[in-house]
């Protein structure tokens, strides 16, 4: 097929973002705007029980009274919430048993993303619940999981099939009124993932979900609920890419983790949403509330690699309610060009002998701003609570910024809290040293950045770590002149 000059120009413009394409799948989109009627319509569309509709409406009413927070170290034009469409779903909706039944265009999209289901089935043994434009399209490995009693499905399906579990746990860690974006999400969430691991079961494979935002002007409101029953273990992976768009896309997800007594949840994220172009135009707004609750002897570990989005506002947190529970947060946040990230964690120590670890690595390039914001709170009854925090920042060039905002509130004298912070800059001397050994500048930066991020990369599951390493390299290409 011959390209016209115009087409070629267009292609080149969007080329910067590798996954910047748009799949032309017929989809059903609600009119723009938000009201009680829209909330009810979403709920009806999903054939939800009445309690769910009510729950959404409660959230909507609270949200209407709330104001968008402004304390984060980010600047952006606030979205007009009445100019967003709150529901969009691929049209051919039925679930498939095999790949043959799936819309070939959708499969092609997956191929371009390099995540063909076939390949994943064979290579990684990963069960993938793909969320494309808010509705789960394919779920694999369900049978293997079912044999162990593990439930891994879309949240819509869980509301239908396992209402008792959803009703018991949804909103218990992140209440509807928790914050502006969480309230919005609670009112309009379109879909997401649900996972339940029964007592004493060790999930035999990594569970993963790929998110994509595909419809122009459609906000994406994912809701994830993971419940690890007593003595169980699960490792959950979340990764995402999105096509490039001119207007800003809003994303406000909520993730709730519940680790009951002696359970362990490992939650890993690789986030690569469209960060906007070199001039700061476009890009995804990512306002996410992620929080986990640990009961007695439970452990929750958050690992995140954040390279995308124009604006990131995200603080995966742990409420260490049970005695001897453990919370961990390992993060790499990369910002380039005009990206802004305000990210970190909250570790709330309520139980005795609770422990938390925070390792945060921020990499800033271009004219971006990268902030770590973390809270370590030790309650008066939390005897012998311990925390270790380490925040390292790496700067590339002279026009970017790195900021650290650690908050510590200790109400118990036995608490031991350590905080370490470093800031370094990739130096010309380091680059020259690598050059002299035959390593070109791009490769040298990748090497230095990977070295800097190693402690966190090591926490990711193997196949994810490789992907994350590539992402870091792509994200920082051309950032040192």
């Amino acid at each position: 097929m011959a390209y016209t000059e115009e087409e070629l120009k267009k292609e080149l413009e969007t080329k910067e973002y590798e996954y910047g394409f748009y799949t032309d799948i017929e989809s059903e989109t609600f009119p723009k705007g938000l009201s009680e009627d829209i909330v009810i319509a979403i709920s009806q569309k999903k054939q939800e029980p009445e309690w769910m509709t009510e729950w959404r409406l409660e959230a909507f009413r609270v949200w209407k009274q709330m104001e968008e927070p402004e304390w984060a170290n980010v600047n952006y034009e606030k979205p007009n919430f009445q100019d967003i469409s709150y529901y969009s779903a691929p049209n051919k909706k039925p679930k498939y048993n095999s790949l043959d039944e799936v819309d070939p265009e959708l499969l092609d999209t997956f191929k371009r993303l390099g995540i063909s289901l076939d390949e994943q089935k064979k290579l990684a043994g990963v069960a993938v619940d793909i969320v494309m434009d808010s509705v789960s399209v394919a779920t694999t490995f369900k049978k293997t999981l079912a044999e162990k009693g593990i439930i891994f499905c879309s949240i819509s399906e869980a509301i239908q099939e396992h209402p008792e579990l959803v009703k018991k746990y949804i909103g218990t860690v992140v209440p509807q009124k928790d914050n502006f974006y969480a309230a919005l999400n609670s009112a309009v969430f379109s879909d997401g993932s649900f996972c339940y691991i029964p007592k004493g079961v060790r999930c035999p494979m990594e569970l993963s979900t790929y998110f994509r935002i595909n419809q122009a002007g459609t906000g994406q409101f994912e809701r994830t609920l993971v419940i690890a029953d007593e003595g169980s273990y699960v490792s959950y992976l979340e990764g995402c890419t999105a096509p490039s768009r001119d207007e800003n896309q809003l994303h406000a997800a909520v993730v709730e983790l519940i680790a009951l007594d002696d359970a362990e949840i490992k939650y890993s994220t690789v986030q690569n949403w469209f960060p906007g172009d070199k001039n700061g135009k476009g890009g995804v707004f990512n306002f996410v509330t992620k929080r986990g609750l640990c009961e007695k002897n439970a452990k929750i570990s958050w690992t995140q690699v954040e390279t995308g989005s124009a604006v990131t506002w995200k603080y995966p947190s742990c409420v260490l309610k049970g005695d001897n529970s453990i919370g961990e947060f390992y993060s790499i946040a990369v910002t380039n060009n005009f990206q802004q990230a305000d990210t970190g964690t909250k570790m709330i120590h309520l139980g005795k002998n609770t422990k938390s670890t925070i390792i945060s690595k921020g990499i800033s390039a271009g004219q971006s701003q990268n902030s770590y914001r973390g809270l370590v709170q030790v309650n008066s009854r939390a005897e012998n609570a311990r925390n270790f925090s380490q925040c390292d920042s790496l700067l590339m060039g002279n026009r970017c910024g790195a900021h650290t905002f650690p908050y510590i509130e200790a109400k118990n004298k036995s608490a031991q809290i350590e905080h370490e912070a470093t800031t370094s800059k990739i130096g010309e001397d380091q680059i020259f040293y690598c050059n002299q050994r035959g390593i070109d500048t791009e490769k040298a930066i990748a090497l230095i950045v990977n070295g800097f991020s190693k402690e966190v990369l090591n926490k990711l599951p193997m196949e994810f770590a490789v992907e994350a390493q590539k992402l870091l390299e792509i994200s920082l290409e051309g950032s040192v002149g």
Partner: protein
């Protein structure tokens, strides 16, 4: 192998090299001596292609090819190696990983596949034994927390791994005790052969007892003011640099 003609170089408009002429043939070892600030390290950096030094006049050629247009990494691929006076630290990158990357990048430039892992391991074992390097050392972050002597030994280990055509050792002897000096010199001497050339930059004659040069040049105020054989180094040690300074004034 290396031919430097009337080389003038500046940094931020400050003239440092003022007309260097030097010819180094394959198989030779040249020592460059001179007082502080005479331009020794600048000469090394210019040959390696460091950008902050601007070549105003003259040329540097390796095996007949002018280097002016080549980037530092391209020069490295051509077989130029610089043992740094002050090696930098790269946290989180192990010595092994760094060497693996360096070797494979150079191979890629020559159109070769990555070196197979078993061959790489064999090479690492061989060269670390040569330089009496503990294996644990190889899994540490590059130069991070290394003592002065360890850094220098690591530079020579890298040289042994990369087997360059032209190696420039910039004050490799500083910070080395006598045992380390012997080990380093041993490593350098192993590289010495018909195919390779070595330039040793040093203040002191001490290193030259271990790495015996074919020629000695004295650099003063950006120029080579005296050249001779290894005896010149001894004479210099005895009479001091003032002797050279006085001679050049006369």
């Amino acid at each position: 192998m290396l031919e430097i003609k009337d080389l003038h170089a500046s940094v931020e408009d400050k003239k440092i090299l003022k007309g260097i002429n030097l010819q180094v043939k394959a198989g030779e070892v040249h020592a460059i001596m001179g007082p502080n600030g005479s331009g020794k390290s600048t000469l090394a950096s210019v040959i390696a292609g460091k950008e902050e030094f601007e070549v105003k006049k003259g040329s540097v050629a390796l095996n007949g090819e002018d280097l002016e247009e080549l980037s530092p990494e391209e020069r490295a691929h051509q077989g130029i190696f610089l043992s740094f006076q002050y090696p930098v630290e790269i946290p989180g990158v192990t010595v092994t990983n760094f060497m693996k990357t360096a070797i494979n990048e150079s191979r890629k430039a020559r159109g070769l596949e990555d070196m197979p892992a078993n061959q790489m391991l064999k090479l690492i074992r061989e060269k670390s034994e040569l330089l009496e390097i503990d294996r644990k050392f190889l899994s540490r972050s590059l130069n991070e927390g290394f003592s002065g002597g360890e850094k220098k030994r690591n530079e020579i280990f890298q040289m042994a791994m990369l087997e360059p055509k032209l190696a420039i050792l910039d004050e490799t002897d500083s910070g080395l005790d006598i045992d380390a000096l012997r080990i380093v010199a041993n490593g350098v001497n192993k590289l010495r052969g018909g195919e390779n050339a070595i330039i040793v930059i040093t203040h002191y004659q001490r290193l030259l007892e271990y790495i015996v040069p074919d020629f000695v040049h004295v650099l003063h105020d950006g120029k080579i003011v005296k050249s001779g054989t290894k005896e010149l180094a001894l004479e210099l040690e005895e009479k001091g640099y003032d002797w050279i300074k006085q001679e050049t004034v006369v």
